[in-house]
Amino acid sequence: MDIAKELLKGNRLALSKAITAIENEYPEATEIMKEIYPHTGHAYVLGITGPPGAGKSTLTDKITRAYRAQGKTVGIVAVDPTSPFTGGAILGDRIRMNELTLDAGVFIRSMGTRGSLGGLSHKTADAVKAMDAFGKDIVIVETVGVGQSEVDIVKAADTTMVVLIPGMGDDIQAIKAGILEIGDLYCINKSDLDGADKLVREINMMLDLDSFMTDWRPPITKVIASQNEGIEDLIGTVEKHRAYIEGNGELTRRRTKRTRDEMLDILNSGINNFVKGQIVDSGRLDEYVEKIRAHDTDPYTVVGGLMDEMLKK
């Protein structure tokens, strides 16, 4: 199967195989990305992040249904943690989205973090591109359950939604740095629980103190995802944010920054692979280490020489 061509024709198995190739870094992945890249840039990317058990998957399910009711197609990339000990993972986000499985307008893919620490996997952005090129109108990226500092989602998404639930700590938590400053939107899920209004006040207080506030003040929406309450309002805030950043050029700035980061990542990994091939795998590293250990030379001289040699190639 010509994966890229079939993907562009709308073959679901090809999309699935493309994401596998991307995720496992198969040699053909680069060719696939080159071929689909011109077809990307149309999907709107919504990031959903928040602590474990906040209801991100349930919300993703309900938000997707609301978009489907508007006739929009949706791709979902759901990330769950990989064990640092065995490399294994239980990817359980689909449990909350079973009703969507047989909807031909929805494609869900689960990914393990595979050693990445920012709440996504290294290949999430490329998986999003595959769904974008496939023709999805909206791509939702659901992060792992995050703590305080896993903020990679802001680099991958056009709009970032932070999902919180009542009862997770006092107001000092709200003035700490990290995930609480990255929201374009805040969603208070399980808002029938005690403390929901207090949480709204605390986030408002945090926003009042934000000295970098633009004229977009992140809205706070209370929902009960399991009962589908408040979802229309929530989608309304997503659309409002989208219109806002499309209108003032911020979307272009965000996407430009993403392209820049991406380009540097690809360049860095190219250099890493080159170094690994030329210096590590060829055995030269061990020779140098031996010389350095014997104090015949030093690492600074060796690396300086290697840099000169590589740049000449």
Partner: protein, 131 residues
């Protein structure tokens, strides 16, 4: 380049007992596999579609309702019909020995009954999976 084994653990049919499926899912996770668990009461259509979207190497079904003779072969047909010809399909649960030959005939590669050590399942997958 890393080829990680991806397994869909699925519960077809109407019984609500997923302890076995969860124990197996955990054992597969500890063996270093990526396990996609979809929860209870899945139709064969849902299982086959989830297998396609997740591009899994293995579909592992658990059933305790007695409907394995109908549901397992249906999943095999749907998965193959989606063009996933290499996917290893295995089953487990309360399944009488006498039913096993027909299930294997229908394309279920192996059937694991109560008392099977989880390591047997892990080893079977490692030996038979096509990556």
């Amino acid at each position: 380049m890393e080829k990680k084994i991806r397994v869909l653990v699925a519960k077809p049919g109407l019984d609500g007992h997923d302890r076995g499926a969860k124990v197996v899912a955990r054992a597969l996770r500890d063996a270093g596999f990526e396990v996609i668990y979809t929860g209870l009461r899945q139709t064969p259509e849902q299982i086959a579609e989830a297998a396609l979207q997740e591009d899994v190497n293995v579909v592992a079904m658990s059933i305790l309702s007695g409907a394995h003779g109908h549901l397992f072969p249906k999943v095999v047909d749907l998965v193959r019909g989606n063009g996933m010809t290499d996917t290893l399909i295995i089953g487990g649960g309360v399944i009488p020995d006498g039913d096993i030959p027909a299930l294997k005939e229908a394309g279920v590669a192996e059937v694991f009954t109560p008392g099977t050590p989880t390591s047997d399942v892990v080893n079977f997958i490692k030996e038979n999976v096509k990556l």
